[in-house]
C-alpha cells in the first residue's frame, strides 16, 4: 500500500507514541487484573521490538484474533464489556494494540486521541492532588507527541517538549475560567453502572466481634466537620450511624420496621456544622447526636439515624445541626420496647444468669446500668485492639474468660446484660470523637474513630446513651484511640504519629487535601452559585454564564493572539547601545547616514566637529570591540564611553 508522503508516519515519531501510550496507561496497572496488565506489557514490548528491528507490523487477522481473545477475557473477568472497569480495561488494551498498527499518521493521531481520553479514566479511581499532577505531566507528553507528529523530525525532543509546555501554560487560564464559569450540571445524567463506585471502607449495617476493631486499624478519613463556633469537647462528639436492635447470639443487625418519626426534645442550644462525608456506599449521614431539623432531601429514622435518600457514593457536603443534650422518645411505642428486650433463648446462658441475679437485687434500671458499668471498670477488663478469639457463646466467653475486648465487645455485652435484666437496650454504631486540625479548623473523623456504644430506654428519660467503653477506658472517649491504646497495638501509623513536626506536617497535608476536596473536587452547581453571588452576579442562569464565558475567553484569545503577532525587536545589546549613542549625536545635530559605517562616521566627525570627535572615537572603538570582539566585558566599556559623550 503506497501512501502520499504527507500521510506516511516517519520512524522517529513512534517512540513518542510509545511514551504517550505508556504515560496514559501505566497508572491503570495498579488496579487492573494482573493478566490484563501482563497482556498490555507484552503488546508494548512486541510493538517496541518490531519498531527496533524495523520489521513488518502484524496483519489484520492476528490483530482481530487478539481483539477477540481480549474481549473474551474482559467478559470473563468483569461479566460485561461495558461499565467502568471493563470499559477502561478495553481502552487500555486497545491503546496497546494500536501500537502494533502504526502505519500512517492517522493511526498515530488515533493513539493521541485515545491517550487524551485515557487521561480522563484515571479520575474514576483517584482525584487526589498527586494524580492531578501526574496527569498534567502525562498530558504534556501526549501533547508533545501530537506536536512531533505534526511538525516532523525537524525539531529536537527538548524543543518539542518545551513547545508542549508553552501551549499547556497558555491553555491554563482558559481552563480556570471554564472551570469556574462553565454552567455546571449536577450528575449523574443517567444511571451509573454497578461498578461506578466501589471499594470504600466504613461502617456496615451489622456488627460482629472484630468488625469495628478492623475498621479502627485504618487511618482513612471518614468525614470532616466544620463547626460554626468552636467545636464541642471531644467526649461529647457521638456521631450516630446505624442502630442495631436484632441479635442472634453473635451478630448484631439493623432491623427494618415501620415506626413513627422520633420525638426529640432539645435541652441545650443547637450547634450548626457542615459535614463533608467521604463516600461509604451507605445512606446514613453520621450526624452528631441528636440531629436537629434536616434539609428536605434528608430523613430522620425512628432510631434517630439521619439518612440521605440515596447511598453516599461520592464525597458530599451536608449542613446539619445538633443539640448535645436531648430527650429522645420518652414515650416509646411498646412494640419497640419489646423488640429491644429480645434475646436468643439459648445463647450466652451465664450472662443471662448474671443479669437475672442482678435483677433480683435491684429493681431500678438506673442502678442496673450502674452495676454493669462497675463490672466493666473493675480490674479484669482490658481495652485492646487484639482481643482473643471468642467461642460459641461469645458474650459469656468475653465476660467470664477473656475479658479483653474492643468497644463492640463491651457494647454488645452491656446490651445483652441489660436486656437480660429487663431494661430495653440496643447497640448504636458510629464514630466517637475526632481531631481538630489546627491548620484549617476542621474536625477530622477517621475510620479509627469508629465506635459502638449502647442506648437504654429509661422511663421518663427516653433513650439514654451509655458508653461502656468509657467505663473501661475513659481516655478513649476523652483523647481518642491512639492515646487509649498501649504502645505495640497495631494501629495505623497515620493516627499514632507522636512526633510533633510529623504531626504538624500531617495536619498541613490533610488541610491541603481538605481544601482541594472542598473547593476543587467539591465545586458543584451550588458552590458555583455561591461564588457568582459573591462576585456580584445575582441569581445567574446558564445564559449569563455562557455570555460571561464567551466574553472572557474571547478576551484571553485576543491576548494570546496579540502575543502571537508581537515581533520582538531583534537587536543585540551592543547594537542597542550604539543606537543610543547615535541618538546622543543627533541631539548635537550630527546624523549618521544610512550608509555610514561607525568608522566612517568617526572620520567625518574629526573633520566637521573636532570637539566631539575624541569622545566619539572611544565609543566607536568600544562598540566595535563589543560587537565583534566577543568579550562580554566590552559592553560595560561601551556603556561607560557613551556616558562620557558630551
Amino acid at each position: 500500500m503506497s501512501m502520499r508522503p504527507v500521510d506516511a508516519l516517519d520512524r522517529g515519531t513512534t517512540p513518542w507514541l510509545f511514551v504517550a501510550a505508556l504515560a496514559t496507561t501505566l497508572p491503570h496497572f495498579e488496579h487492573q487484573p494482573l493478566w490484563l496488565s501482563a497482556l498490555t506489557a507484552v503488546l508494548f514490548a512486541w510493538g517496541g521490538w518490531l519498531w527496533w528491528r524495523d520489521e513488518r507490523l502484524p496483519g489484520r487477522w492476528p490483530l482481530a484474533l487478539l481483539v477477540a481473545v481480549t474481549c473474551g477475557g474482559v467478559l470473563f473477568e468483569f461479566r460485561t464489556l461495558f461499565g467502568r472497569d471493563a470499559g477502561v480495561a478495553m481502552l487500555v488494551v486497545f491503546m496497546a494494540m494500536k501500537l502494533l498498527e502504526l502505519r500512517s499518521r492517522r493511526d498515530a493521531s488515533v493513539v493521541v486521541m485515545l491517550g487524551y481520553f485515557l487521561l480522563l479514566t484515571h479520575y474514576f479511581y483517584s482525584q487526589s492532588i498527586p494524580t492531578g499532577l501526574w496527569l498534567l505531566v502525562a498530558m504534556t507528553l501526549v501533547t508533545a507527541t501530537l506536536i512531533r507528529l505534526n511538525g516532523g523530525a525537524a525539531s529536537t525532543p527538548a524543543a518539542t517538549l518545551r513547545y508542549a509546555g508553552l501551549l499547556m501554560l497558555q491553555a491554563v487560564p482558559f481552563m480556570l475560567v471554564l472551570f469556574l464559569l462553565f454552567p455546571r450540571v449536577a450528575g449523574p445524567l443517567w444511571g451509573l453502572p454497578q461498578d461506578a463506585h466501589s471499594g470504600r471502607t466504613g461502617l456496615s449495617d451489622q456488627m460482629a466481634p472484630g468488625n469495628i476493631a478492623n475498621l479502627a486499624l485504618s487511618g482513612e478519613i471518614a468525614f470532616r466537620a466544620r463547626f460554626a463556633e468552636p467545636p464541642p469537647p471531644r467526649d461529647r462528639l457521638y456521631w450516630r450511624g446505624p442502630v442495631l436492635e436484632g441479635f442472634d447470639g453473635k451478630t448484631w443487625r439493623q432491623q427494618t420496621s415501620r415506626s413513627r418519626p422520633p420525638q426529640v426534645e432539645m435541652l441545650s442550644p443547637v450547634v450548626a456544622y457542615e459535614s463533608t462525608l467521604e463516600p461509604h456506599q451507605q445512606r446514613w449521614l453520621l450526624a452528631l447526636d441528636a440531629p436537629g431539623t434536616l434539609a428536605a432531601d434528608l430523613a430522620l429514622e425512628s432510631t434517630l439515624t439521619a439518612t440521605a435518600r440515596l447511598p453516599i457514593s461520592q464525597r458530599q457536603r451536608f449542613s446539619l445541626t445538633a443539640a448535645l443534650d436531648y430527650r429522645f422518645n420518652p414515650d416509646e411505642e411498646p412494640p419497640v420496647l419489646k423488640r429491644n428486650l429480645l434475646l436468643p433463648p439459648t445463647a450466652n446462658p451465664r450472662t443471662r444468669a448474671l443479669a437475672e441475679s442482678w435483677r433480683q437485687e435491684e429493681s431500678s434500671p438506673e442502678r442496673l446500668v450502674q452495676k454493669a458499668l462497675t463490672l466493666f471498670s473493675g480490674d479484669g477488663f482490658t481495652y485492646t485492639l487484639q482481643p482473643p478469639l471468642l467461642g460459641e457463646q461469645p458474650v459469656d466467653d468475653f465476660l467470664f474468660n477473656t475479658q479483653r475486648g474492643f468497644c463492640e465487645h463491651y457494647a454488645s455485652a452491656f446490651v445483652v446484660l441489660m436486656r437480660a435484666a429487663g431494661v430495653p437496650a440496643r447497640v448504636v454504631t458510629g464514630y466517637q470523637g475526632g481531631e481538630t486540625n489546627p491548620v484549617d479548623g476542621f474536625v477530622v473523623v477517621r475510620q479509627s474513630d469508629a465506635h459502638a456504644w449502647a442506648e437504654v430506654w429509661l422511663a421518663g428519660r427516653g433513650w439514654v446513651r451509655v458508653d461502656p467503653t468509657a467505663a473501661v477506658s475513659p481516655i478513649r472517649v476523652e483523647s481518642g484511640i491512639a492515646a487509649a491504646m498501649p504502645a505495640g497495638e497495631p494501629l495505623s501509623p497515620l493516627i499514632q504519629v507522636r512526633s510533633d513536626w510529623l504531626r504538624t506536617l500531617q495536619f498541613r497535608w490533610e488541610a491541603i487535601n481538605n481544601t482541594w476536596n472542598q473547593y476543587v473536587l467539591g465545586y458543584n452547581p451550588q458552590r458555583q452559585r455561591e461564588l457568582l453571588t459573591r462576585l456580584g452576579l445575582k441569581d445567574p442562569d446558564w445564559r449569563d454564564l455562557a455570555a460571561a464565558l464567551a466574553v472572557i475567553c474571547g478576551l484571553m484569545l485576543l491576548a494570546v493572539t496579540a502575543w502571537a503577532l508581537y515581533r520582538r525587536p531583534q537587536l543585540d545589546p551592543a547594537a542597542r547601545l550604539w543606537q543610543k549613542a547615535l541618538r546622543r549625536l543627533a541631539r548635537r545635530q550630527v546624523n549618521c547616514a544610512p550608509w555610514e559605517t561607525p568608522l566612517a562616521l568617526a572620520r567625518r566627525l574629526e573633520e566637521e566637529r573636532p570637539a566631539l570627535a575624541p569622545a566619539f572615537r572611544e565609543v566607536v572603538d568600544a562598540y566595535l570591540e563589543a560587537r565583534y570582539g566577543g568579550n562580554p566585558d566590552n559592553l560595560t566599556k561601551l556603556r561607560a564611553a557613551i556616558a562620557r559623550l558630551p
Partner: protein, 318 residues
C-alpha cells in the same frame, strides 16, 4: 458559480501579489478546524458527558484544559504563518509534461522554527512540505504539472499549515507574478536531410566546437562546460564569466523548416516535431537553423541557441 467565485475572491482577497517579497499578515491568513479538530471536539464532548455523569471535578478540569489547548493551538497555527516573508524566484523552462518548479524563498525572523508548511498550487497539483528554521531562509519550489507549451503562470498557491496540533489549519493564498516558459514536448522523428550550404565560407564565424576563435560574456543559457575559467579569473575575478567561442566544424547546416513537417498534422504536432528535431540536432552537435512562418533563426549551435529555438517554438501561436 460565478457568484460563489466572486464571493471567494472577495473573502480571500484574491489578487496578484506582484513580484516583490510579501509578508503574510493577519488580513490574509485564514483558520478553520481540520477533520481531526472536529474529531477532537467530539471526543471532548464525550469526555465532558462522562465527567458530568461521574461527577469528576478533575475530569471537568481536564476537558477544559484540552479545550483551552485547542484554542491556543488555533492561534499557534495562525502564528506559524504570520510574519513569514515570501520572495518569488526565477523559474527555469521545462518541457510540456514535466513538472514546472516555481521557486519561492521563505524568510522568517522569528526565534522559533516554522515547521510543516505545505505548498500546493491548486487541488489537482502535487503538494510539498517545507519548513523554515529560526531566523533563517528556506527555498522551496512549488511543483506544477504542465501539459501545454507557452507561458505558464503560477496558479494561485495555497500555503497551509496544521502545526502544531493538527486541530486547525491556517492557510493563505499566494499569487506572486511568476511564470515559467514551457517548451513543447519534443516528438522524436527522423531529422530532415542535411542541406548543402551555398556560401560555406561565410559560416566560419558561427559557433562551432573545434577551433578557438575568442571570448564572449556568458549568458545564463550557456553550458558551464564552455566557461573559460582561467580567463574569467584574471583581474581578481572582477570580470564577468567568459565563454570560449569556437569556429568551424559545422560546415554543413540543417534547416529545420516548418514546411518540412507533415502538413496534415495540427499546428501543435508540427511544433512538437520541430522541437524533437532541435533536440536531436543539438545532440548530434550539428549547426541548425529554424524557420517558422514569420520567424527565422539563423543556423548556429550550443545551449543558448537551442533555448532560443525552443522558446520560439514554445511561443509560436497555435
Amino acid at each position: 458559480m460565478g457568484l460563489i467565485a466572486e464571493f471567494k475572491r472577495r473573502l480571500f482577497r484574491w489578487q496578484s501579489d506582484g513580484n516583490a517579497p510579501l509578508r503574510l499578515t493577519q488580513r490574509r491568513i485564514f483558520v478553520l478546524p481540520t477533520r481531526s479538530g472536529l474529531l477532537f471536539v467530539a471526543a471532548l464532548l464525550a469526555m465532558l458527558t462522562g465527567a458530568i455523569n461521574y461527577n469528576l471535578a478533575l475530569g471537568h478540569a481536564l476537558v477544559f484544559l484540552l479545550a483551552g489547548l485547542a484554542l491556543v493551538g488555533m492561534v499557534h497555527a495562525f502564528r506559524n504563518l504570520h510574519g513569514l516573508v515570501i520572495a518569488p524566484g526565477r523559474c527555469l523552462p521545462v518541457f510540456a509534461g514535466d513538472q514546472a518548479l516555481f521557486p519561492l524563498q521563505f524568510a522568517s525572523d522569528r526565534a522559533t522554527p516554522r515547521l510543516a508548511l505545505q505548498l500546493q498550487a491548486g487541488a489537482d497539483q502535487p503538494a510539498i512540505m517545507t519548513a523554515v528554521a529560526a531566523q533563517n531562509l528556506t527555498d522551496a519550489s512549488v511543483p506544477v504539472t504542465t501539459s501545454r507549451r507557452g507561458w505558464l503562470a503560477l496558479p494561485r498557491t495555497r500555503l497551509s499549515t496544521t502545526y502544531p496540533l493538527g486541530l486547525f489549519v491556517a492557510w493563505s493564498y499566494l499569487q506572486p507574478e511568476m511564470r515559467c516558459l514551457v517548451y513543447p514536448r519534443p516528438l522524436p522523428s527522423p531529422l530532415p536531410p542535411l542541406q548543402s550550404v551555398p556560401r560555406a565560407g561565410d559560416q566560419h564565424g558561427a559557433d562551432g566546437q573545434e577551433d578557438f576563435s575568442g571570448f564572449r560574456a556568458r549568458q545564463p543559457a550557456d553550458s558551464p562546460r564552455h566557461v573559460a575559467w582561467k580567463a574569467s579569473a584574471r583581474d581578481g575575478g572582477q570580470r564577468p564569466l567568459l565563454i570560449k567561442q569556437f569556429a568551424g566544424g559545422a560546415q554543413r547546416e540543417l534547416q529545420l523548416d516548418w514546411s518540412l513537417t507533415p502538413e496534415a498534422a495540427t499546428v501543435d504536432t508540427r511544433i512538437e516535431i520541430l522541437a524533437g528535431w532541435v533536440m536531436a540536432a543539438e545532440d548530434e552537435g550539428a549547426c541548425y537553423g529554424l524557420r517558422l512562418p514569420g520567424h527565422e533563426i539563423q543556423a548556429a549551435s550550443g545551449d543558448a541557441h537551442r533555448h532560443r529555438c525552443l522558446e520560439a517554438l514554445a511561443l509560436f501561436p497555435s
